[in-house]
Amino acid sequence: MNPISLPKIVVICVAFVSGFCIMTVEMLGARIMAPYFGGSISVWGSLITVFMLALSVGYLIGGRLSTRNPNPKTFALFFIGAAISSIPIILFADAIMRPIFLAIEDPRYGSLLASIFLYFIPTSILGMISPYSVRLMVDSHEHSGHMAGLLFFVSTIGSAGGTLATSFYFVLWFDVNQILWGAVAVLLLAGSVILLINYLLQKRAANAQVSGYEKQN
């Protein structure tokens, strides 16, 4: 049986969603840490450093995983994993930051450590999505550059949208935790949609195969 490939438009849409959510969490990240480490430029420095490191690790792992039987189910798991690993930011942020605040007096290193504990895992999982989605979109070597460009375009546009929407509007309309729950829900939805489409396509393929056999017989 040939591997089922997702429609390109689905991959493009979820790539947008992942880019959007990365920046939503990052913009809120500073807000979440400010009560413990302040709003100084070094807190932003810690946060951005950890996001960049997490994404780079995610790109590496996602790229590696894409060479082994690339499939929509694994792709969906990235979204679900990112959603689940973001939940501690909502539920345990204080419990995580308080001991760090007590142990480390310098808010620079305090915020660096807190950023690692809070954001590293979900962000690196979100980072895996980009290279993996390139693999899902590419049918031939010829088109790989074109597809990679398209996906970077879409996910970065998503990031721009997430940054703007969060900092201009969401913080005005909602609590920080409400926004984060929203991001979790959207990531879960994206994962579920991928699984659903994959299931429907598999079913159709199976039916087609069955009817094919029937015709042959």
């Binding site: 413990y36 480490f37 302040g38 709003g39 605040f101 007590l102 913080v171 005005l172 609590d175």
Partner: protein, 298 residues
């Protein structure tokens, strides 16, 4: 007739401002990660200016030949807390600026311990180099975020009996210094007889949110506004506020010692109001919801 005179006065004022502006000389520029800081001198008056590019905003000014005299209304207004706590022993000032405020307190209460917390090292450098600010055995500066400083002071069990929140430099409002949670942390480091003096904003929509937040944490507070200043001060304490009669008596006994700083303390009691002049239905600012910078323009 009265209007004409007023017009004439404002014209003269405008002329004076124009003249001084043309004669102003930038004597120092300090780059920092937060803002550009310029030190500008006009005759004897030396000013610290933030946000040079977006409309000048004098942060602190000193008269180099008469350093005791405080120039800005809002700096003088910070002394109104003395009407509630006349003999402070431990003072916390959040936001250094040019350092004129802590200097005056140190001069007035040489035995009081003064902690100043300032997030920007560049501001400390400029205050020391150009505004005669000096640390001494009783007055120290911590380069730190005020939220972090206050939280840690609370854990260490430090207490202050005079707290001045003046950490709002330039246009940007540090949102984490306006929330209910922050004010609760400030409460933790206040002695029973402490006074809190917060230099805050009077822009419309934000004013409502801020007032509601202070009210939630402290109950009633004195709202202190002067026609000569766009700032408003929130002055409050843990206990219920004293009657106006007490304020007047205190003002009378303290006024002579404040004369050399140019603080018209006798005028202040009549200006301290507990009247609610804000929209009480506005949302309390919290760590979860504090879009202060988005509210200020509306």
């Amino acid at each position: 007739m009265k209007n004409k005179i007023r017009l004439l006065f404002s014209f003269c004022g405008l002329m004076a401002v124009t003249l001084t502006l043309t004669a102003a000389e930038v004597i120092h520029e300090e780059k920092s990660l937060y803002r550009d800081i310029n030190v500008v001198q006009t005759g004897d008056r030396r000013c610290l200016i933030f946000n040079v590019h977006r409309g000048d905003r004098n942060q602190t000014c000193v008269d180099v030949n008469n350093r005791d005299e405080l120039i800005f209304s809002y700096t003088k207004m910070s002394f109104a807390g003395l009407l509630l706590t006349p003999q402070p022993k431990a003072i916390l000032v959040a936001g250094l600026g040019g350092g004129t405020l802590p200097l005056a307190f140190n001069d007035l209460f040489p035995d009081a311990l003064i902690d100043v917390v300032e997030v920007d090292q560049a501001v400390v450098n400029v205050a020391k180099e150009f505004f005669f600010f000096e640390e001494n055995a009783n007055m120290r500066v911590a380069v730190n975020d005020a939220r972090v400083f206050v939280k840690r002071a609370g854990i260490l069990g430090k207490k202050y009996d005079y707290i001045i929140l003046d950490a709002f430099g330039g246009d940007y409002i540090p949102e984490h210094l306006l929330t209910q949670e922050f004010l609760e942390e400030v409460k933790q480091i206040m002695t029973d007889d402490a006074v809190l003096v917060a230099n805050t904003f009077s822009t419309s929509r934000f004013y409502d949110h801020e007032s509601v937040t202070y009210q939630r944490v402290f109950g009633e507070f004195f709202n202190f506004k002067l026609p000569t200043s766009g700032n408003r001060m929130i002055i409050t304490q843990l206990d219920s506020l004293p009657p106006r009669g007490n304020l007047i008596t205190r003002a009378q006994s303290l006024a002579p010692s404040l004369e050399k700083y140019g603080v018209p303390l006798l005028e202040y009691p009549a200006r301290l109001s507990t009247r609610v002049d804000w929209d009480m239905s506005r949302r309390v600012l919290t760590d979860q919801y504090a879009p202060a910078n988005l509210l200020q323009d509306n």
